[in-house]
Amino acid sequence: MNIVVCVKYVPDATADRRFESDNTVDRVGVDGLLSELDEYAVEQALQIKEKADGDVTVTALCIGPEKAVDAVRKALQMGADQGVLVTDEAIAGSDYLATSLVLAKAVEKVGVPDLVMCGMSSTDGAGAVLPAMLAERLDLPQVTLASVVETQGDQVRVKRDGDTATEVIGGTMPLVLSVTDQTGEARYPSFKGIMAAKKKPLETYSLADLGVDAGQVGIGAAYSAVEDTAERPPRSAGEVVKDEDGSGAGALTDFLVSKKFI
């Protein structure tokens, strides 16, 4: 069985994330890492591999700047078997349509997948649309936003906690599967895992390797454009009182009354 896990390299959410002068996300000047939400996808892929009877190859696939190799490496340290980084100057500033095109081509180059796995959303763009787009491009069913994943042979069943209902979704491989942070904590790389990762195959593809024309990607080919970005003015810290001898509740109520909430 072939599992491709799509992992994104994102600016650290606890760092000062910002935009470049062309309004694209600064992916180089801010410390980055493997998107935490994609660790859950790696974890579920590894669990499927561990449970499976036959041979399973887990490939971690990332599109990003050269530094993004860190995200692939982390996935290898966690236990993925091989890694692929697609990097090319022309990709910078790509929108979802272009990113999904490149990801789809890369998935096809890796081989015929049984499962293409994704996180529920990236932690920077947070669109949560790429898995569905990838499914559309690869003409595969999507079983997305799983909070519990079960596989048996080529059958996949997941629980999906929707807005108005909890559903059980089923499908037959090959398919695109995305998982939420409810699927269970992701493992930390062990020392052994970190050592082993150094010997695992890690390939780098350019757009030319994938047969994608540079004119189809990047900021110039985007279907949407950012007009402007503005930092939200920081909230000015308001009044903070200590609850001494039960005074806190009264002060809080007075505040709510002054703001007409009561």
């Binding site: 920077d124 649309v129 930092e231 909230r235 903070v240 009354v257």
Partner: protein
């Protein structure tokens, strides 16, 4: 004027409020037409309310054949409807399904997509709140039919009294769209409180509740508020996941947000930072949540919240 398609979010025919908000926003782009997936009886029944809120037409797509499948069939049907109507845009409610249907449609018709808009201006410029609410981004679809998913609570519901003329639309659905099957579905039980994303006031509890949400719920009910939670409280199994506020939960932007026993991690802020007024009750005066508050109480939530509830009840008489 071109049509603007608004995909109706409903449960068994009951239209949910965010759809009406979309109808308000759609008028900035053209003439709103609602797209209703469901039975024709439900569609006709909903058409009156949809018309009242601005839908000139209501396309009813019979879903008998497709309702057991996830996302892909709806994208196919919308592709056909877009081809028929050449709309000035398609608006979706930003939820799991709305976003994914929009995503597949974007690839099918070659159109730009904007997710999680909190406003749409005349001419289609949208506003998004990004990086945990620290930045505001204005952007615009520049190619293809703009596909925009809009967060709940982003516009006023307005009654304008449009025709709401029902038109049945027969879509052709391919077999390959019918592969991800909805095997079972369990509707969420109503808490009897306002919907988290629609509420004017939200009272949320975190790990600091120690698992006892009585004080949080008590104050919420006195204020007529919805109850929310941090992921720590959800992960501990104290409240259902549907309560979660933050990066991987819901985003709320109420008039008043009360955080009790919540430290204010960046992932939590991502879901509440744009609230109009923020209040926190926390034992630890160093808790980062206090950086955001309009008013804060350093104290034990188990005593402050019940006392505040009593005071609120008394004022209300």
């Amino acid at each position: 004027m071109s049509e603007v398609l608004v995909v109706v979010d409903h449960v068994d025919g009951a239209v949910r409020k965010p759809t009406y908000e979309l109808l308000t926003l759609a008028r900035k782009l053209g003439e709103p037409s609602a797209v209703f997936f469901g039975s024709s009886e439900q569609g006709s029944a909903a058409a009156e309310a949809l018309g009242k809120h601005g839908a000139e037409k209501v396309y009813v797509v019979d879903d008998t054949e497709i309702k057991g499948y996830l996302v892909a069939p709806k994208a196919e049907a919308l592709q056909q409807l877009v081809e028929k109507t050449s709309p000035a845009g398609v608006l979706f409610v930003s939820g799991f399904e709305g976003k994914e249907v929009a995503a597949r449609l974007a690839i099918k018709i070659g159109a730009g997509i904007i997710t999680d808009a909190v406003d749409v201006e005349d001419g289609g410029v949208t506003t998004q709140s990004v990086f945990a609410g620290n930045f505001t981004v204005r952007s615009k679809v520049t190619q293809g039919v703009p596909l925009i998913t809009v967060k709940p609570n982003s516009a006023q519901v307005e009654e304008v009294g449009a025709a709401g003329t029902v038109e049945e639309f027969a879509a052709t659905i391919s077999d390959s769209a019918k592969k991800a099957q909805i095997v079972a579905s369990q509707p969420r039980k109503s808490s009897g409180r306002p919907e988290l994303q629609e509420a004017a006031i939200v009272v949320a509890g975190g790990r600091g509740t120690g698992g006892d949400f009585t004080a949080v719920e008590g104050l919420a009910d006195s204020l007529g508020a919805a109850v929310g939670a941090s992921r720590a409280a959800v992960d501990s199994g104290w409240v259902p996941h549907s309560y979660q506020i933050g990066q991987t939960g819901k985003t709320v932007s109420p008039q008043l947000y009360v955080a009790a026993g919540i430290s204010g991690a960046i992932q939590h802020r991502a879901g509440m930072q744009t609230s109009k007024t923020i209040v926190a009750v926390n034992k630890d005066e160093e808790a980062p949540i206090f950086e955001l508050v309009d008013f804060g109480v350093v104290g034990d939530l188990q005593s402050v919240l019940p006392a505040a509830k009593d005071a609120v009840d008394k004022r209300k008489g």
